[in-house]
């Protein structure tokens, strides 16, 4: 079985690399005007340094992968110089990447960094035809040309990055295109806007405009990285403390995290997004925090009330308290009425305990047979769909 999976992984990697090289070759043959232009020496040096600098502010995604975002450099370069120069400078900065030793913070292997370089060449090659179509534009229309190409650039880059992650690392959670794009949206916006400005003022300021905008982009992205880092710190800390709370009850090990993963999947299907989804995740992680110090079985839901009291006193988490308080209510018409999120957490928690004891199939049957109000029925309906989609069939 493991061997089959290994072969499948190698095949996926080969297909991915083939796609990268094929797109480079296709653009090279179909869209290329003919003879090679000589690379511009000044721009080669400037761009190679710029591409290397973008590595300093690479952004870490929630699952620990690091992404280097270089849209501003690649995009503005497509207007400022020829494609030969860009490809050469990407390769040069790729060499720098491969030759720099691993650091504790940059733990990608040399092979991965090489693959990164090929990916970046492929993405920029695919944007190139679109840019050469709109090259003649002047004035304010130039801005819109850059914005359009920027959207294409980002779309291709996100698609390639998420594919590469899926191919390289065996999946342990959601890794779709959306999960890559969502946290990085503001960074992409900064890059595209700055590239547009560079292209617009380059007729007056030349290389200087590019260097100024590069400096600003790096500073702004660094600010956004700090923000993403502290957000991740909160999520990871709460996860760890929830695990610590479970150390007391070995039978529950991993319960909170499984409930959180499932709750978020369900919440998304029920139309939750953004901050609501994030709070649902925290509620799920902490739903049993009231059990600490009360190891005796408690089916009446007193631990839910205790947990909500604990969480209520923490400013960052106080909005989560009602979701914990109501997670043992099965009926939305009871008083006080539980939030939908609370019912989601309750369903996921019940299901996870049943599954640990009896396996998925019987657990689902019991969930369907259990009593509850309209909202709970609906949540259980979604649960069946989510479990059916993710569980490995026997």
């Amino acid at each position: 079985m493991a061997r089959v999976r290994g072969i499948a992984r190698t095949a996926a990697l080969a297909a991915y690399m083939f796609a990268l090289f094929a797109s480079i070759a296709t653009v090279g043959i179909v869209a290329y005007p003919g003879s090679l232009e000589p690379p511009n020496r000044l721009w080669t040096i400037v761009l190679a340094i710029a591409f290397s600098l973008t590595r300093l502010v690479r952004t870490r995604l929630p699952r620990g992968d690091e992404v280097r975002i270089d849209e501003m450099v690649g995009l503005s370069a497509l207007w400022l110089t020829n494609i030969e120069t860009i490809v050469i400078s990407i390769v040069l900065s790729g060499l720098v990447d491969v030759l720099t030793p691993r650091t504790p913070t940059a733990h990608s292997s040399r092979g991965e960094r090489l693959l990164d370089t090929v990916r970046r060449v492929a993405v920029v090659s695919l944007v190139y035809p679109a840019v050469s179509l709109s090259r003649g534009q002047m004035g304010e229309r130039l801005l819109f040309g850059v914005l359009g190409a920027g959207v294409l650039y980002v779309a291709l880059d996100v698609l390639a990055v998420s594919t590469q992650q899926r191919v390289l690392v065996p999946s342990d959670g959601p890794r779709g295109v959306v999960s890559v794009f969502r946290p990085l949206a503001s960074i992409y916006l900064v890059h595209i806007a700055m590239a547009a400005v560079v292209v617009r003022v380059s007729s007056m300021l030349g290389v200087g405009a590019f260097l100024i905008a590069l400096l600003m982009t790096l500073i702004l992205q660094n600010g956004l990285n700090l923000y993403l880092r502290i957000r991740r710190a909160y999520a990871e800390t709460i996860d760890v403390l929830a695990q610590a709370a479970e150390l007391d009850r070995p039978a529950d090990a991993g319960h909170a995290r499984r409930v959180a993963d499932l709750s978020i999947a369900l919440g998304r299907r029920l139309g939750m997004a953004g901050i609501d989804l994030e709070q649902l995740g925290y509620a799920a992680l902490l739903h049993d925090v009231g059990r600490i110090g009360h190891p005796e079985a408690d089916s009446g839901g007193e631990h839910a009330v205790r947990g909500a009291q604990i969480v209520e006193s923490i400013p960052f988490l106080s909005p989560v308290a009602p979701l914990i308080a109501g997670h043992h209510c099965v009926d939305e018409t009871s008083d006080p009425a539980p939030a939908t999120g609370a019912i989601v957490v309750g369903v996921c928690s019940d299901f996870d305990r049943l599954r640990s004891k009896h396996g998925s199939t019987i657990a689902l049957q019991r969930m369907v047979a259990s009593e509850g109000g309209v909202v709970r029925r609906r949540v259980i309906g979604e649960l069946i769909r989510v479990v059916a989609a993710t569980e490995v069939r026997p």
């Binding site: 405009a209 500073i219 600010g223 007391d248 600490i292």
Partner: protein, 417 residues
């Protein structure tokens, strides 16, 4: 408000008035439209967005004023500076009128002086001389420098009058120099804004300012979140600890002692915060040790001792999952090492033990001795200190114990608890 501040404010106002009037006559604004556009941008960014992710809190107003100077000349810069000083936030917060007046006057005067320096060195308006700062890069640099330095001097002297402390001391404390880096970035931003204005690229101007506005807004949330982080961890940890009446509040107290000890030992502010965080989380691995073991009044069996000895490792492994706390992991892992090598889990000795672990060990031992346990009541402070002295050099780091003993006992060791 000291009388001297009023006098100072009126003097600055008078000077600002004279300079403004002179500039109005000498450098009339050729076209008001770009200046109005800058004013609108300035008003919006000043009132709806906040800090920048670089040192200091120099606002975007600097960039806007500088852009006005380069594009439409010294008088336009003064107009932008005056408009930029009206901040709705300050009105709402009820900042004294005299301070608001002073702020407006000093900004106008700084901008005016910058404009004079710029023109004196041959700087021209980009709006008149489309496309270049040819011959005037020195003027542009001088303009930015004069604006920055004049602003810092006026504000520094003003706050020295208000606080009644020497000017030099104010400068050192306010860290005005660290604003330098942000001023460089903002000056470059102003330069690009002026160029876009000269090209009449309104959409470009918007695209340039949008990312800055966005990042400032997000960065404010970052500042709030990072300030609340330690408080959040503290609440969660105390909630988890509450299960055992004998250790309730332990981590929080150890955090207070550890921070004070780090400060008394002359460690950096970063290290003091680091050890405080480590102390808050140092017993996270103990939650796994069965309640009965922790509160047992009897002697422990070999198995139970082994179980207790695992807690620094368990805690370290847990905390390792939080990337933000990676600096804290070794401190937690080694807080039960003894300087003579008899501790656990690694049996490190002396300097091999991380410095902050040695700090944490002293704080932890002191709190363990002074609080009640199932098998004994807590010691008096005097007894506990004597005991610390006794184990200094064998269990605990002698130097750290020395610093701890030297903390005056009038509640500052215990943080006024």
């Amino acid at each position: 408000m000291p009388r001297a501040m009023h006098t100072y404010t009126y003097a600055v106002c008078a000077l600002a008035g004279i300079v403004t009037a002179a500039l109005f006559l000498a450098y009339p604004i050729p076209n008001w439209l770009p200046v109005v556009a800058l004013l609108v941008l300035d008003f919006v960014t000043e009132n709806f967005v906040f800090e920048l992710p670089i040192a200091g809190s120099v606002s975007l107003a600097f960039a806007v004023t500088y852009a006005a100077l380069l594009h439409s000349g010294p008088f336009a810069a003064v107009v932008c500076a005056l408009a930029g000083s009206t901040n709705l936030q300050e009105f709402r917060e009820g900042k004294p009128a005299i301070l608001r007046l002073f702020n407006a006057a000093q900004l106008a005067l700084s901008a005016g002086l910058a404009g004079l320096a710029y023109s004196a060195l041959g700087g021209t308006m980009l709006s008149q001389n489309v496309g270049s700062l040819q011959g005037a890069p020195a003027a542009a640099v001088a303009g930015a420098l004069v604006f920055f330095i004049a602003n810092v001097l006026f504000v520094g002297y003003g706050s020295s009058i208000i606080s009644g402390r020497p000017v030099l001391e104010v400068f050192r404390e306010q860290g005005f120099l660290s604003y330098g880096s942000s001023v460089l970035v903002l000056a470059l931003l102003g330069f690009v804004m002026a160029t876009l204005l000269a090209m009449e690229s309104w959409a470009g101007l918007l695209l340039l300012v949008l990312p800055f506005a966005l990042v400032r807004r997000i960065f404010r949330v970052y500042l709030e979140l990072s300030e609340a982080y330690t408080a959040t961890v503290r609440s969660l940890v105390s909630a988890i600890e509450a299960k055992d009446p004998y250790t309730r509040g332990h981590s929080e107290r150890v955090a207070v002692y550890a921070r004070r000890l780090a400060e008394a030992a002359g460690l950096s502010a970063t290290d003091a915060s680091l050890v405080e965080r480590a102390a808050l989380l140092h017993d996270v691995g103990k939650i796994g040790v069965r309640l009965s073991t922790l509160t047992s009044p009897k002697h422990l069996s070999a198995g139970e001792v082994r179980e207790i000895r695992e807690h620094p490792t368990i805690g370290g492994d847990l905390i390792q999952q939080v990337e933000f706390l990676s600096d804290v992991v070794p401190v937690i892992r080694h807080h039960h090492e003894h300087v003579d090598g008899a501790g656990y889990p690694a049996g490190l000795s002396g300097e091999e033990i991380p410095l902050l672990s040695r700090v944490l060990a002293v704080a932890d031992a002191y709190d363990a001795m002074t609080s009640d346990r199932a098998y004994r009541p807590g010691m008096e402070e005097r007894e506990a200190l004597a005991e610390l002295k006794r184990v200094a050099g064998s269990q605990l780091d002698a130097a750290m114990v020395g610093y701890f003993l030297a903390i005056p006992s009038d509640s500052s060791r215990t943080g006024g608890q």
